[in-house]
Symmetry: C2
Subunit: 299 residues, 2 copies
Amino acid sequence: MEGLPSFRDRVIDAVTRGGPLCAGVDPSAELLARWGLPDDDSGLRDFSSRCLEAFEGVAPVLKYQVAFFERHGAVGIRVLEEAIAAARAAGSIVIADAKRGDIGSTAAAYARAWLDPSSRLCSDAVTALPYMGLGALDPMFELARATGGGVIVVVRSSNPEGRWIQTAGVGAPAGAPGVVAPAGVTGTGTVEDTLLASIAGLNRASGGTGHVGAVVGATLEPSAFPLGSLGGVILSPGFGVQGGTAEHLARLFGGCEPGTVLANVSRSLLDAGPDVDSLRTRATELRAEITRALGWTLP
Amino acid sequence: MEGLPSFRDRVIDAVTRGGPLCAGVDPSAELLARWGLPDDDSGLRDFSSRCLEAFEGVAPVLKYQVAFFERHGAVGIRVLEEAIAAARAAGSIVIADAKRGDIGSTAAAYARAWLDPSSRLCSDAVTALPYMGLGALDPMFELARATGGGVIVVVRSSNPEGRWIQTAGVGAPAGAPGVVAPAGVTGTGTVEDTLLASIAGLNRASGGTGHVGAVVGATLEPSAFPLGSLGGVILSPGFGVQGGTAEHLARLFGGCEPGTVLANVSRSLLDAGPDVDSLRTRATELRAEITRALGWTLP
């Protein structure tokens, strides 16, 4: 499966043609009620279809929030399988926002679920949590690299509750027993900047495939790591309702290559539903606003 | 739903009667092949049934590794629903090892999936990852507290790749912008000890319901936090194949109340399959070994 376009190249191509908006597909109980849909598999299915129709050509990337399907168990996961397949068949790039994370054969099983072309849940990329170490996610990175997929690691999240972990100082308790520093990383820094440097190292080591990306919240101030050197795709939630502004986007991502940053908007967008035309209008406005903020030009 | 026995009390009762072995149900592709079972829903179903039969009365707690079901998509999740229901009906305490983690309404959706009695995936406890902050998991803690369930947070994992994050120093980059310290925690320490102190605080604040537990790998040396004051259940993987010894268990958990520590064994146990009697024999041996290591007495 070598020779496929890389995940990063596919995102750059899609964003260059369609803009940097990554539309969230978040069928929460609250949004289903607001849209007048039942909170069951038929509601999930209708919600997903409306999103796909509304966002075609306006948001080249769709992000499915797995939890909202998983809360209905196997029945919900079945709808998610159908939604992912329909979106990819329509030419969208699909991110499964699953935030999975584990070690060894378990990490390999998550890779199989979300990135193996033979899986019915196979997506273009999956999100992951690094608490058990970036190295623990290797089986996910490996499969992504081999198939032209991506793993987008949550590094700097947009919510305040995680900042104290993400900004903790690596190596502070000097010589703590059993600590293995990530490959290629020396010195000290915050957890988040060490992760970003490690991700850049993975992308460089694989010859620029850009298969490892990072989540960087749109509500944050820049950290010490220069995001322009990440070598992977950045997914940025938090624009709009959560407090992220155009100024945040410009400050955070001004140094990034055009096409490599996806601004994810979910709630601020989905509140415009259930009418497909209203959703599309809101997405078009958001796309223009975000594109301007990033200083990019759309065709 | 108030007034239910707490998760911690139920575990103490089960362990006091049946011992501290938490048997892993891990139908990986490799183990299915070793057991001569097909890698599909029928194989997953047969594997799960054999585990339930073999471990009854020897391991009061069963831990299902969700990834190995999820890799088969909706079909696999359907088998997991059946397996969880069968195990709970037989009187086992079920831990869904899902390692979920997210914020806000998404965390609430994961709570709904794994802890709401109306969900077909409802388990006695679910594992969670704290990278986005312990506070982000509040919707999971709240539902667990209200239903007599548990959330077991991965804090000190048994694999080496995560140690540099888990031992990072909280507050090291003094005054980093946007950092919100966890409630009730002052001063500095490692990420893992700060999490353990915060978990103890949650359990104390809720009047000793013990609905928040922690994963502490059996391969580690003790940290500064006294685990006897956690107030929740400790799940300890890593005994056996991963290198955790009886000495590790004794050193780590000597100060813990009998019944509050579950030693999880998966690979070392499942390698004895597929024969149900062989699995049972191996589980009985492991139970005795672990009980001795912990210095507890079985009835």
